[in-house]
């Protein structure tokens, strides 16, 4: 299991003189280049070996398994693409796609905006900021399961959250997890509570914006709002790209929280049947392992295409670094 949370350090712009220096040096070093290549492969070898053994092997196996009706309990028979055609006829499959996409479409933009807003707030130079940062980043280090256990109680129809809503004048607060309509919003709410994770990354991005730029903007008479849109936002687009990708991957791979909140069958009315939960249930509860492998491959292809599409279009909106260090 990879960590679903990320703390990234976006690349800062290197000193401007370096790119040229590197290029002129390149032509002269052929033996040293070869030595460097050897060193590179040597340094990268733990991952190369690990990837081949622990990832590529099992991946190939799972592709093969996806073409069989293997059910763990019995020996596999080759069934061709039957698993793939089955899934598109399954209502539960369509439901899990809908649930996942709903979550991605609502959650990802909200988390991005909230994370950036929080980071902007925490980037202010105010006394005592360190304490606030400590508190607001705290949810980032709590496990998804522990957070889900906590929130499953907080979101009880008669629990503290609705109690607070009633105090604020909401006479008929939502049923959250016991209502199919409010289940995904409930998971989004829990995600917002953990916004600190995304904010750490944004904060790092914000701190990399050279202060001189703001100085220039101020002299030009730009207000804080204009400075944000003209300077801050363009300058942190690399961070934005990273958190966006990370957010999308995380949202697609929603599992732990939904599993604790709704059980493996995906909550009330299947409203929490996220894609991976559906996959898990088919593979490990029902023992339909061939089918579950097929589900995984559709998932990887769709998510992969989306990520590549974002990366391809990213050069249009991501601020160009001055010279890549190659």
């Amino acid at each position: 299991m990879t960590a679903g949370v990320a703390v990234n350090v976006p690349p800062a712009s290197p000193p401007p003189d370096r790119a040229g220096q590197g290029r002129s040096a390149r032509r002269r070093r052929t033996t040293s280049e070869r030595r460097e290549a050897r060193a590179g492969i040597l340094f990268a070898s733990p991952w190369l070996i690990g990837m081949l053994v622990f990832t590529v092997g099992p991946i190939v196996a799972s592709i093969v398994i996806s073409l069989t009706d293997w059910s763990l309990a019995s020996s596999p028979n080759f069934v061709g693409t039957e698993n793939y055609s089955d899934m598109f006829q399954s209502r539960d499959f369509r439901n899990s796609v809908t649930v996942t996409l709903t979550y991605v479409l609502i959650g990802v933009p909200l988390f991005q905006v909230a994370g950036l807003a929080l980071a902007l707030l925490l980037n202010l130079r105010l006394p005592g900021m360190r304490i606030f940062r400590t508190i607001l980043f705290l949810p980032a280090v709590l496990s998804g399961v522990a957070v889900a256990v906590l929130w499953s109680q907080l979101l009880n129809p008669d629990g503290p959250v609705n109690e607070a809503l009633r105090l604020l004048g909401v006479s008929d607060p939502p049923g959250w997890l016991s209502s199919p309509r409010w289940s995904v919003p409930a998971v989004v709410l829990i995600g917002l509570w953990s916004t600190g994770t995304g904010a750490i990354i944004y904060l790092a991005g914000l701190q990399n914006v050279p202060p001189e730029l703001y100085e220039v903007a101020r002299i030009d008479g730009a207000g804080p709002v204009r400075a944000f849109f003209k300077i801050t936002l363009p300058m942190i687009t690399p961070t934005l790209l990273f958190t966006l990708l990370n957010g999308i991957i995380g949202a697609f791979q929603m599992f732990d929280i939904a599993y604790v909140l709704g059980g493996s069958r995906g909550g009330s009315g299947g409203s929490l049947s996220f894609y991976l939960l559906y996959l898990w249930n088919e593979g490990f509860r029902n023992g339909r392992f061939g089918y579950a492998s097929a589900l995984a491959w559709v998932f990887v292809v769709v998510a992969g295409v989306l990520i590549i599409a974002i990366l391809k279009t990213s050069n249009r909106w991501v601020y160009e670094e001055s010279g890549d260090q190659r």
Binding site: M1, V9, G40, L150, L276, W297
Partner: protein
């Protein structure tokens, strides 16, 4: 800043503080409620009106002891087992990921860009589907029933941490490395004496998240470990979170116990985590 009138500055400052306080409360209140519930006696009403956000009347500290002292679930033993696994994971992750991250950030080798693409793609693959093939492989290797499947892969790098470290190293100025090379250091020495010390902030991040991942991992230990005396804390907790017989106070106490080590680590490492990240831009 000097241009704006004093009143407006005071206004916006107090607004910022108000916002920060409000947000901090939304973080702290749920945690406080959890402590309140954990300290309640058995069968006491949990959902009260008004909500008790912080413990005021009940102080059943023994709930934590009860959560831990069940003779059938030796939590001390579990903790030691977990710490061995977590420790090995951290060591493996730091060594392998920093080496590989350095290679991707600084060393040119054929197919580097392609392999980096592969690295990104592996982040997308849900671990669920690799579980059974990986299981069969570990079993063939004779690792079933031991902690090897839980720790050995860490020594072969983790795509996410490699990605982080690579990004970080790319922000470091090259001058130190060049100077060291001129002084006759080889790549390994450059890595050891220059890169690793400079990477401390990002490695702190990796340590914290590697800790979290393996501390919280339930399924891995559950599948590969066979005997009660080899179990980890996460399994013990999962056994406690009984659905047949839910005692919310003990459940929340267990939940808190599970949260404490990551929080302690966070407080110890937060200088590095937040301060470290913040200083990156200034160094560059």
């Amino acid at each position: 800043m000097t241009k704006r009138p004093l009143a407006s500055r005071v206004m916006s400052k107090s607004l910022a503080y108000l916002l920060l306080l409000a947000l901090s409360f939304t973080i702290l209140l749920p945690l406080g409620w959890m402590v309140t519930v954990a300290l309640k006696p058995d069968f006491a009403p949990v959902f009260t009106t008004p909500t008790q956000w912080f413990p005021t009347s009940d102080w059943h500290w023994e709930n934590f002891g009860r959560a831990l002292s069940d003779p059938a679930r030796p939590f001390l033993r579990y903790t030691l087992n977990t710490l061995v696994i977590v420790g090995l994971n951290i060591v493996g992750t730091v060594i392998s990921c920093s080496l590989v991250g350095y290679a991707f950030a600084r060393l040119k080798f054929p197919g580097r860009e392609f392999l980096f693409g592969v690295l990104i793609v592996t982040l997308l693959i849900p671990w669920h589907v690799l579980l059974i093939p990986q299981f069969l492989m570990y079993f063939k290797l004779g690792w079933y029933g031991s902690i090897l499947p839980l720790v050995v892969p860490a020594f072969f790098g983790n795509a996410f941490f490699i990605f982080l470290i690579r990004q970080y190293i790319r922000t470091l100025p090259r001058e130190f490395e060049l100077a060291a090379t001129v002084d006759g250091c080889n790549r390994l020495q450059v890595f050891w004496h220059i890169i690793l010390p400079l990477c401390r902030p990002v490695l702190a991040v990796c340590v914290v998240f590697a800790f979290l991942t393996s501390w919280n991992d339930l399924l891995g230990p559950l599948i590969y470990l066979l005997r009660n005396e080899d179990y980890t804390v996460a399994i013990g907790m999962a056994n406690m979170v009984s659905r047949a017989n839910p005692k919310l106070n003990l459940l929340m106490a267990a939940n808190l116990i599970m949260m404490v080590p990551p929080i302690v680590l966070y407080f110890v490492a937060q200088e590095k985590l937040i301060g470290g990240i913040a200083s990156v831009g200034i160094k560059g």
